[in-house]
């Protein structure tokens, strides 16, 4: 009951979805769409579990007065602010994401700047990591270095000023030399993922149930 039934559910669901892809007619055709709807509903519940986990963590930190516990108050302030204006916007307007709503405004002026600043912060760490890693010790490392430098310089106006053909070479590296290798990697990844999916559907891989 605790182990067999989930294995049967995995097999039947996976099998039906595969069959419905290859036989897009009744009764299999609509099953794929139905499964996707069911899938998204269950996904919503699992997201709630994730939210609960994070909220519990911060409540625990506040209760135990752990070092930096007051950051959790800031966390809850941000959380309730976004949630309240989000729900208010959902109630007031048919689409809270349309420009002009308070939710959209908060998203655009606080969340997007924070998100892009966090990502931009990585530019400094990537630069310092590459300074340490990019040493032309071997032929392979030299190739990596040369390709990265050409792509980086070729994509900024300074690259064009330096040599007018540099942007073209950067694009050629990206669209031709990189393409073949990336396709090979993609095919390898896909074959591995298909094999793993088959293992899951056939019940060979069961670690997710432990």
């Amino acid at each position: 009951m605790k182990k067999r039934v989930p294995l049967v559910i995995t097999f039947v669901t996976g099998f039906i979805v595969i069959i419905s892809f290859f036989i897009p007619h009744r009764p299999f055709g609509p099953l794929e769409t139905d499964t996707l709807i069911w899938y998204s509903i269950i996904l919503g519940f699992t997201l709630l579990i994730g939210v609960d986990s994070l909220v519990r963590l911060h409540v625990r930190q506040m209760r135990r007065r752990k070092a930096g516990w007051w950051y959790s108050i800031v966390f809850f302030a941000g959380f309730f602010y976004c949630l309240v204006i989000g729900i208010m916007s959902v109630i007031r307007t048919p689409n809270p994401f349309q420009p002009g709503t308070i939710f959209f405004y908060g998203y655009k002026t606080i969340l997007i700047p924070l998100q892009s600043t966090m990502f931009a912060l990585l530019a400094f760490f990537v630069a310092s990591a590459s300074y340490r890693a990019f040493r032309a010790r071997t032929l392979e490392a030299t190739l990596l270095l040369v390709a990265a430098v050409i792509v980086m310089i070729g994509r900024v106006p300074a690259g064009y000023k330096l040599w007018t053909r540099l942007p073209g070479i950067a694009n050629w590296i990206f669209n031709v030399l990189q393409m073949g290798a990336m396709r090979g990697i993609m095919i390898g990844v896909a074959l591995g993922a298909v094999a793993m999916s088959l293992r899951l559907i056939l019940g060979i891989e069961r670690t997710y149930l432990s």
Binding site: T46, L47, L83, L144
Partner: protein, 209 residues
Amino acid sequence: MSISTSIWVWMAALLTLMVYSFLYKDNPFYRLAEHIFMGLSLGYTLTILWYNYIIPRVYEPLFLPPHQWSLIFPILLGMMTFGIFSKKYSWLIKYPLAFYVGGYAGLRIPLLLQSWIIRQVEASFLTPDKFTSLMSSINAILIFAGLFATLIYFYFSKKREHGFGAAAQVGIVFIMVAFGAAFGYTVMARISLLIGRMQFLLHDWLGIM
């Protein structure tokens, strides 16, 4: 120079500076911005959940005509995830998880076969339409050689000697160039984000630029 008077711009600017203060070292300002970000992201996720999942996929089909009673099953399955909160019934989460894993695996197989394998092989074939000019011919051969050599490099079931070893060596050359190009592209994407933030600080906030 005209400094912005909008409270939203000031807030975004201060939060940006708080995040960049991490470049010096981990400090309370950075951690404050980090927790605001986490809280807002979580609130945003819940709003999306409410707007994109609960209302159109649960509330409307169930409570508005024509009622789709069959949706009670995924809702019940989804509610089983709450079993995790009880020691006695924690095993109930295995049912929605099994459905989730089975559905995901089933969806992935045809999708990957079609777009990640067949389409990629198809696009790399040396067909006559790719030999229209000298440059396009060279490019097509290089893409094909890159794909072939990379696949050989990742084939570990045969000893790397003679022609096979040489092809694997060519494969590592293509892989290194690809990684270098991907790395350069990623760095530039981050740099462009940084430029965007600097433009915001200098133009929108301080009005210098």
